[in-house]
Amino acid sequence: MGFGDLKSPTGLQVLNNYLADKSYIEGYVPSQADVAVFEAVSGPPPADLHHALRWYNHIKSYEKEKASLPGVKKALGKYGPANVEDTTGSGATDSKDDDDIDLFGSDDEEESEEAKRLREERLAQYESKKAKKPALVAKSSILLDVKPWDDETDMAKLEECVRSIQADGLVWGSSKLVPVGYGIKKLQIQCVVEDDKVGTDMLEERITAFEDYVQSMDVAAFNKI
């Protein structure tokens, strides 16, 4: 139930249709139901909504005796046509207690409560299962190109320096020297890192720190394992 947003044209349209064959929101005398809806309407409805405007002016004439009108005020969503969904409440929970015929909806509250419980149970089950499973460590295999300054650089020393870098989650693999040209060779070295612990930025920083030997360093290949 409800009129939707009574400040919007659509809400007023619903109100207008509702009041076409009624003089009051509820029953045949002005009541708190009228006051509640009246207060929710921001101002006189536009002139083309005859029924809403008529009702508005009529209730306005009761302004002074507003408090003494019979009835008990209910939530705004409790009034109005039964086939319009209540949007005045705070979301899904409110729409449960309207008694319109919802052919495709859930039958009653109990069932949806049951479904909710089941869902939570499953969620908890899933969580615990996930916790028990050993966390999969993401690893990557990286192929690095390390280039020396010139052909006189001691490549054996360079490799030794690179391999001297120790870090948690870093394992050095095989290496080879690849000729680049003019007798210069670069060091191609494989390593396996744990993604969480070692980054390529850190590797680059550490390797280029041996500036006596290393001119530059590239990541030739980066593969997730």
């Binding site: 076409a20 064959d21 009624k22 003089s23 045949y28 009702w55 009529h58 004439s61």
Partner: protein, 174 residues
């Protein structure tokens, strides 16, 4: 409804104890009220206005000058237009006019219940009873007004309650 019976109804709804005696006069059964002091009162609306005063419910005759005039106008309408017609076409025109008049009004005078509503209700009752569901929906504003008045405390009395369907069936006709 005979005017005499109608005045008796009105008496009851105004809360008057039955103390007046009416005579029906002439061919058109015009009611005459024999008062204790003063001249006889003749005619439905005259007597009705007298009864309202007797019951100290002057507000039913309208509270402002304009409202009083509107009440008077509708009482006249009731006697001259509603009572005079019995054929279907006339009633249809009457209801159509009334329907458009009532579109922006809750009561005949606007927002106050008056004698005009009571008498027009009594006058229209025999026609409204015979309306089909479709017609009731066609004259939606009249239906709303009529339904409202018949639920007004103390008005309907022994008259049959006219049923109005809550859901609209013929959406195109309105």
């Amino acid at each position: 409804m005979a005017a005499v019976a109608e005045l008796t109804l009105l008496e009851k709804s105004l809360g008057l104890s039955k103390g007046n005696k009416y005579n029906a006069h002439g061919e058109r059964q015009i009611p005459v009220l024999q008062t204790n002091n003063g001249p006889n009162l003749t005619g439905l609306t005259t007597i009705a206005a007298h009864l309202v005063k007797q019951a100290n419910k002057e507000y039913l005759l309208g509270s402002t000058a304009e409202e009083k005039a509107i009440v008077q106008q509708w009482l006249e309408y009731r006697v001259t237009r509603v009572d005079g017609h019995t054929n279907k076409d006339d009633i249809r025109i009457l209801l159509k006019d009334l329907n458009s008049y009532l579109e922006d009004k809750v009561y005949l005078t606007g927002y106050n219940f008056t004698l005009a509503d009571i008498l027009l209700y009594y006058g229209l009752h025999r026609f409204i009873v015979d309306l089909t569901v479709q017609e009731k929906e066609k004259y939606l504003n009249v239906s709303r007004w009529f339904c409202h008045i018949q639920h007004y405390p103390g008005i309907r009395q022994h008259l049959s309650s006219v049923v109005f369907i809550k859901n609209r069936l013929y959406t195109n006709s309105h």
